[in-house]
């Protein structure tokens, strides 16, 4: 067989946005930020103050009363979920050989990730520990209505 080169010095056709490259960069950048965010999260929740015993409904409500922790947790949620699902996508690319199975698995990962991010973000920013019009016995002890 002879070696053939089709127009060896021609530039390859311009492509659309290179998602593989941006995916690769995202994994590294988000990885570095996540290390900081996750250890901060673990320190505040499990060690600082009374430690792990302090975690209850009131503790979470108290954190989300502050915009700082709202944005902290939102950043953690977005970065970690996209990081994780991109990793899952990579694993699917590595191990699922059939093109149809590959497409469907990746769609499932995409849908579940979008759903989780939207739900999580909604909860973080609309969280109200003492919703008005709720029966008093369903409210936690620190609510004014109780």
């Amino acid at each position: 067989m002879t070696a053939t080169l089709d127009a060896p010095r021609s530039k390859p056709a311009p492509r659309r946005t290179n998602w593989e490259k941006w995916g690769w960069i995202y994994m590294r950048a988000s990885g570095v930020v996540l290390v900081v965010l996750i250890f901060g999260h673990l320190f505040v929740n499990l060690y600082a103050g009374e430690g792990v015993k302090a975690i209850d409904f009131g503790f979470v409500a108290g954190k989300w009363a502050s915009p700082f922790w709202q944005w902290y947790d939102a950043a953690l949620l977005w970065l970690a979920l996209i990081h994780g699902s991109n990793g899952m996508r990579t694993i699917v690319n590595d191990y699922s050989t059939g093109p149809r199975l590959n497409t469907w698995l990746k769609r499932a990962i995409f849908v579940s990730t979008v759903l989780l991010i939207l739900l999580g973000t909604l909860v973080i920013f609309t969280f109200d520990p003492c919703p008005t019009g709720t029966a008093a016995d369903l409210l936690p002890s620190f609510c004014a209505a109780r």
Partner: protein
């Protein structure tokens, strides 16, 4: 009377055995993954007992099998001295050159498993179709592209030559590419060997087509498929730091220049 004859016969048989067997030699079992397309539907494992010296190579053992036991055993080898890159194979689960792997460096008390390299189409016994491998090698344009007529030597500083020295050592044996788990499942991936050979020209300051090669490797199936598993660096019989070379190409793609 008859007893003596038998003993004499046994004695001479032992003597001829002793003549053939050099001092220090021993019998080792090679279990080879055979596949003869005309006979076998599926590859099968076949074992051979071979008398070897500890300083013999796997290639010597394969030769002994082919020349003395089973002429149908098929494998590639050309120079037999670790420079042509013909006899890469999977020995005890690791990609090595049969001509550079000494029996004593394995564990001769256990059977030695020999099979063809993975990820490329198996043709016969230890021979695979190397064409997909060479196709991706050709795609990265592995030749010097410099403008101007070559009327005199293109000089280069020692430091500039040092920059890509490691990747000039590649012998295209495919040990790295066929050890890469990404390549096993995604045959479209360029593979470590193609990236190593692109590296050799991308970082050569006499070459002017680095940008073209960086564009080619900045592809869905290019450098970003690398998962830094380091299988390639471990497999390389020439000791090239393959994963490092791939990482340098990644950095060059991000910078947009070598």
């Amino acid at each position: 009377m008859s007893t003596i004859t038998v003993e004499a016969a046994q004695g001479s048989a032992l003597e001829s055995e002793m003549e053939e067997a050099p001092p220090g030699s021993f019998v080792v079992t090679l279990i080879i993954r055979r596949f003869i397309p005309e006979l076998d539907e599926e590859p099968r494992w076949q074992d051979f007992d071979v008398r070897v010296l500890p300083t013999d190579r796997i290639l010597d053992a394969l030769h002994k099998i082919k020349w003395e036991q089973d002429g149908s055993l098929t494998f590639r080898r050309s120079c037999a001295h670790g420079i042509c890159g013909s006899d890469a194979m999977r020995i005890n689960g690791r990609n090595r050159l049969a001509c550079k792997t000494l029996i004593k460096d394995l564990d001769p008390s256990q059977p030695i498993y020999v099979e063809a390299i993975k990820g490329l189409p198996l043709e016969k016994d230890l021979i695979v179709d190397m064409e997909p491998f060479f196709e991706s090698y050709r795609q990265i344009q592995p030749f010097l592209q410099a403008s101007g007529s070559p009327v005199r030597e293109r000089t280069q500083t020692v430091a500039a030559r040092e920059r890509f020295d490691d990747t000039t050592k590649c012998i295209l044996c495919a040990a790295c590419t066929s050890s890469c788990p990404v390549f096993w499942t995604d045959g479209q991936y360029f593979g470590p060997a193609a990236i190593v050979n692109a590296h050799r020209f991308i970082f050569d300051d006499r070459d002017e087509a680095a940008q073209v090669r960086l564009d080619i490797l900045n592809d869905k199936e290019g450098v970003w498929r690398c998962r830094t598993t380091f299988n390639c660096s471990e497999a390389c019989p020439r000791g090239i730091e393959v994963t490092k070379a791939i990482a340098e190409v990644k950095q060059a793609v991000l910078r947009g220049r070598p």
